[in-house]
Each structure stands twice: as structure tokens, then as C-alpha cells.
């Protein structure tokens, strides 16, 4: 190591920020870091894309012919229209796994200690992570939408409404990434975090209107499926895309899907971000 010349202490005078400005700045620095990581490990982004693309192809070509939507002629192209909102919504919820694995990794690798020893906003580590996941989710949605167009999916209510639908999807994805953050903080091993992040998503996304009409489920299961936060977003997207096949299901949350979707997402986000930030603050690593 060469001799030091200008390394006397007390040189840099840090700028002082406080409140929301500090929080926004620090979150942005952390988000930038996580986005950079994603470009360095493109496998994660690629595999994150492959899964939903595979679902689109398998569901529309393999299962589509067999699934009957009430009030519509059964055909795989009808099913594709029905299916896409479900696939989109399922894809955004998978952001959970990214957030939980990423945060668990930071916790185990000692990087969180570095962050916690810096004069930065506490929650920025989590906000930065979830924001980076949001960017990744948006990218995935974009690619997925193009694949969907290729297999025959169409929007029928105009571009602004379609954008609104994507907005709802991103909101849901962002809310869910906070669940992922909490899982990542609780599990503390990246491997465990990945499976813990995904396992509960299967019942959540399948006991819903995403892949089959809820009316085909046993009657005791139907209210659960209709009140599932996930179903509200799926139904809202179907409406906004103009993909509703047959009549709107006769259930309150389905009849007010857009509002219910927004409310659910905000409630989930508020609750889980509060829990996560609290857990992060008190984490003993």
C-alpha cells in the first residue's frame, strides 16, 4: 500500500438532509445499487421472465381447451383473454421472492451492518430494494405483454384503461414486495427466503379467479376466492383490458374490483412496510 498523503481525518463535510428528502435520496442510492446488481446477475431477470411466459403458453395451449368459462364459448383463444389478467397478476406477486431473497442475502452477508452503521435513513434499505423490484416487475410485465399479444391476447377498452390496469398490477406487486421484505428479514437465509417467499403464493394465486372461474369451485371456497386481494386485481384488470368473458361474477368485491384492488394493495403495503421497517430497526444481526 502506498503512503497516504491527504487522508487526514475530518475532511469531507457531509450534506445535511432530513425527513422525506433524506429518505428519497437514500432510497434512490440503494435502489440504484440493487438495479446494478440485477444487470450483473441477468439470470435472475431472465428466469423471472421465463416462468410467466411458460405459464402463458402452457395454460393457453394445454389447459385452455378444457377450462370452460360460464357464458362464453369454450375455446383456447377465449381462455387466453380470460387468462392474461391472471398471469399478469401472478407475475407481479412473484416480486415477493426477489425481495425476500435479496434482503435475506444482505442480512447474512453483513452488508446490512454496513448500511446500519451509516448515517442514512433506516427504511431506505428496504424502500430501495422494493423500488428496484418494482422496476424489474415493470420490465417483466412489458415483455410478458408482448408475448401475450403474440398468442392472441388483445385489449378492448383503449390504451389509457390498459395503462391503468398495469398501474394496478404494479401497485399490487409493490405491496407484495413488502411482504417479501418481511419474509427476508425473518428468515435470514437466502435459500429459505426464496422458498418461504414463494410457497404461500401458490394457494393464494390459485384460490382465486386467475386461472379458472370461481363459480366452478366448491361453494365454501367461493367467498374466499372472491375476497382474495389477488382476485380483485385480476377482476379489475379484466375489466380495464376489456377481457371479461361472460357476466361479471355476482359478488361485491368483483363488482367493485378497481376500488377493492386499490384498497387491498394500500392496506397490504401499509401493514407490511410498517412491520418490515420495525423488524429492520430492531434486527439483531
Amino acid at each position: 500500500m502506498t503512503t497516504a498523503t491527504s487522508h487526514a481525518i475530518g475532511g469531507a463535510v457531509p450534506r445535511q438532509r432530513s425527513g422525506p428528502a433524506a429518505m428519497a435520496h437514500d432510497s434512490w442510492v440503494v435502489a440504484k445499487r440493487n438495479l446494478r446488481r440485477m444487470t450483473r446477475i441477468p439470470e435472475i431477470v431472465v428466469f423471472g421472465l421465463m416462468q410467466p411466459v411458460m405459464f402463458v403458453l402452457l395454460f393457453s395451449y394445454v389447459m385452455g381447451g378444457a377450462i370452460r368459462i360460464p357464458g362464453a364459448q369454450s375455446s383456447s383463444s377465449t381462455y387466453t383473454q380470460f387468462l392474461m389478467a391472471g398471469i399478469f397478476a401472478q407475475t407481479v406477486t412473484f416480486a415477493v421472492a426477489g425481495a425476500s431473497a435479496g434482503i435475506a442475502e444482505d442480512m447474512t452477508k453483513g452488508l446490512v451492518d454496513r448500511f446500519r452503521s451509516l448515517p442514512m435513513t433506516r427504511s431506505a434499505v428496504l424502500v430501495g430494494r422494493t423500488l428496484a423490484d418494482l422496476v424489474q416487475t415493470a420490465f417483466t410485465l412489458l415483455v410478458l405483454a408482448m408475448v401475450a399479444l403474440l398468442v392472441g391476447w388483445r385489449i378492448h377498452e383503449g390504451f389509457p384503461k390498459a395503462l391503468a390496469a398495469f398501474g394496478l398490477l404494479l401497485l399490487l406487486g409493490y405491496a407484495f414486495s413488502w411482504i417479501g421484505a418481511l419474509i427476508g428479514l425473518s428468515v435470514r437465509s437466502p435459500e429459505a427466503a426464496t422458498s418461504a417467499g414463494l410457497i404461500w403464493l401458490f394457494p393464494l394465486t390459485f384460490i382465486s379467479n386467475a386461472f379458472v372461474p370461481v363459480s366452478s369451485m366448491p361453494s365454501w371456497l367461493q367467498p374466499i376466492a372472491y375476497w382474495n386481494p389477488f382476485s380483485a386485481t385480476v377482476q379489475a384488470c379484466r375489466e380495464l383490458f376489456g377481457n371479461q368473458v361472460g357476466p361479471t361474477p355476482d359478488s361485491w368485491p368483483m363488482e367493485h374490483a378497481v376500488v377493492v384492488s386499490v384498497v387491498w394493495s394500500i392496506v397490504i403495503m401499509a401493514f407490511f412496510s410498517w412491520l418490515s421497517v420495525r423488524k429492520y430497526r430492531s434486527a439483531v444481526g
Binding site: M1, T2, T3, A4, S6, H7, A8, I9, G10, G11, A12, P14, R15, Q16, R17, A22, H25, D26, V29, V30, K32, R33, R36, R37, R40, I41, K109, G110, L111, D113, R114, F115, R116, S117, L118, P119, M120, V284, G285
Partner: protein, 335 residues
């Protein structure tokens, strides 16, 4: 002047374990305190409390005059922490890592960038600065981690086992950096299990065991605490041992110890080099052939052993650290 680091009666329990059982210490400005102890003694927990990573159950602490519990964020802008394992993002380049830390210290992007380049040069990482840290060797990661702790030229630094797992060459290089920092006025709290390291770097040593400071002083004071020097003689012929004991008797300040197999006699003495010269003359006049002779002052190992009743060998329990363990030396007694 108030000490740069001051802790009073820190207590922290994890379940049934009393990790800190009333730790008090103070580090005057511009000095180095070595926190010496085996794994699990409470060294890291002490550092975590002082660097605001952990709240103690009770006790108080100040760093650079700022209360750690009341104004943690203020403390964070005054300290640098380099931990037991390199806390760098392995998917970022060396330069990006330092720049990110700079920006999180609230430096402008331009300042953060300039500072990053400066540090990379100082730490001999300029060539590797645009490679991801994943490709770095263990020594390079440690250097990067230490550089990250120096981004704002903090007046108070905490180094938690900075050289654990490093090979001798990298260890020496890090020592030199640390010495430079201290020359420039940085106050340093250093934890280590290596006596050699504490001996070389620290002005003052606090020996920690079971969450308590069990001894405090300079290396020399601690050594003096467990008694003075000894003369060690290895005679050539086993039959000469008795004769040699007789020759040493007038100089002995205590009972001699004899190891028959190695023909080694150890006698407590006082008087330093002069005694050694006298002993040599005496042995020579009796025509006792010797293989080796020396004046041995107690090492910190001896100090540790006599204070705690167990040796410091604990390095083999930290395998979970991800820093490459190759080149780790068994740090036994240095004679």
C-alpha cells in the same frame, strides 16, 4: 479532554447468555485500544453497541462526545466500521461500492466519486476498481471494506478483527494502513484474538472474557502483572541438568521448572540482560555446554492464560465467516 470512546457498564443479554456483563472502557482521543479476547468473549457485541448496531439492555456510551443511545445517527456520521467479514456488495465493482457508501454518508455524487478514487489508489485497488468485488481475493475484499469505513475520514474507527483469516502478507499491509490512520490522529478501537496484533497496534489493551473487562493496561503493564522475566536454558547433555540448576540457583527468584526431555530449565529472574550475562558466565565457568539460552519476557498469551485460565486459541470456531481461511496461521505462543 473527554475520551473519544467511553462505555459505562454495558449489559446485553441474548436469551440466557450474558454477552456483555458490565463492560466499561474508555479510549482517549488519538489512541488505540485493543480489545483482546477469545470468540464469544463479547468483543463484537461491544463494537456493535458502540457503533449503534445494537442497543444494550443497560449502560451508557458516548463516541466523540455524542451519546450512542440518544443520537445514534449523529454517531454514525462520526465513525467508520470495518467488520469481521468484508461487508461489500460482491456484485458491485470496487469503485461502485465506495461511491455508494459515500453517497449514503450524504456526500455529493461528485465528492463520493473523487473520494472513492483516492481510496482505491491508497489501497492498491485502482487496477481492480472496475471489476465486481466477487472477483476479488480475500485480502482485496478486506481492503475494500476498510476503505469503505474510511470514506468520510471518520475521527473514530472501529475495526472488528480486521485481519482474521488473512495471510501474513495481507495482515502486515493492513497493519501498516492502520498505523498510518493512527498517526493521522484517528481514535481506534480494535478487536482481535491475535496477541501479536494487539501488541503491535494498541497503546492500551483491555482483556475481555465472558462479557467483562478482566484486565486493562499497556502490553508491558499486563505482562508485568503476571510476573517478570525468566531465563530459559537448554543444556546439551541431559546429565548437566542438575549442575546447571545449581549454577542458576543464586539468580532464581522462584522455583525453577525443568523439562527433562527437552533439557530445558526455566528460572524466574529479575535484572534483565545483566542477569543473562552473569548466568552465561556462570554456566561457562562450570563447563556446561548449552544449546540455547535466552531471557524470556511473558507474552500476552501468558497474560491471557494466567488471567482467564484458558488460552486464546479460538480461531477454529469461526468457520462460518466467509472470508477465505487459507493462510490462517495457528497463532500459538511466540517465543
Amino acid at each position: 479532554m473527554a475520551p473519544a470512546i467511553q462505555a459505562e457498564n454495558l449489559v446485553k443479554t441474548f436469551g440466557d447468555v450474558r454477552a456483555l456483563d458490565g463492560v466499561s472502557l474508555d479510549v482517549p482521543e488519538g489512541t488505540v485500544l485493543g480489545l483482546l479476547g477469545p470468540n464469544g468473549a463479547g468483543k463484537t457485541t461491544t463494537v456493535r453497541v458502540l457503533t449503534t448496531l445494537l442497543r444494550p439492555d443497560s449502560g451508557r456510551a458516548t463516541v466523540a462526545g455524542v451519546d450512542v443511545l440518544k443520537h445514534p445517527n449523529k454517531v454514525r456520521s462520526l465513525i467508520g466500521l470495518s467488520g469481521q467479514y468484508a461487508a461489500v456488495d460482491e456484485y458491485l465493482t470496487g469503485r461502485e461500492n465506495l461511491q455508494m457508501v459515500g453517497e449514503l454518508y450524504q456526500m455529493t455524487p461528485r465528492d463520493a466519486k473523487a473520494r472513492a478514487l483516492e481510496l482505491l489508489e491508497w489501497f492498491n485497488l485502482t487496477e481492480a476498481m472496475d471489476r465486481t468485488a466477487k472477483t476479488y481475493s480475500g485480502g482485496m475484499r478486506r481492503r475494500l471494506d476498510l476503505a469503505a469505513a474510511l470514506v468520510v475520514r471518520p475521527p473514530v474507527m472501529f475495526l472488528d478483527e480486521p485481519t482474521t483469516g488473512l495471510d501474513p502478507r495481507n495482515r502486515l499491509a493492513l497493519w501498516e494502513v492502520i498505523e498510518t490512520l493512527v498517526e493521522q490522529g484517528t481514535t481506534l478501537l480494535l478487536t482481535t484474538q491475535y496477541l501479536e496484533e494487539a501488541d503491535r497496534l494498541a497503546h492500551d489493551i483491555a482483556v475481555v472474557d465472558h462479557g467483562k473487562v478482566i484486565a486493562r493496561g499497556t502490553a508491558d503493564e499486563l505482562k508485568a502483572q503476571i510476573g517478570g522475566e525468566r531465563v530459559e536454558v537448554v543444556v546439551h547433555e541431559r546429565g548437566d541438568v542438575t549442575e546447571a540448576l545449581a549454577a542458576l540457583a543464586p539468580y532464581a527468584k522462584g522455583d525453577p521448572a525443568v523439562e527433562k526431555n527437552t533439557r530445558k530449565i526455566t528460572v524466574p529472574v529479575s535484572g534483565g540482560a545483566k542477569v543473562l550475562a552473569d548466568v552465561i558466565r556462570e554456566l561457562d565457568s562450570r563447563s556446561i555446554e548449552i544449546d540455547d539460552i535466552g531471557l524470556r519476557r511473558p507474552t500476552l498469551d501468558d497474560v491471557f492464560l494466567s488471567l482467564t485460565g484458558h488460552a486464546t486459541e479460538a480461531a477454529d470456531t469461526d468457520e462460518e465467516q466467509q472470508s477465505p481461511a487459507k493462510g490462517r496461521k495457528g497463532h500459538g505462543k511466540d517465543a
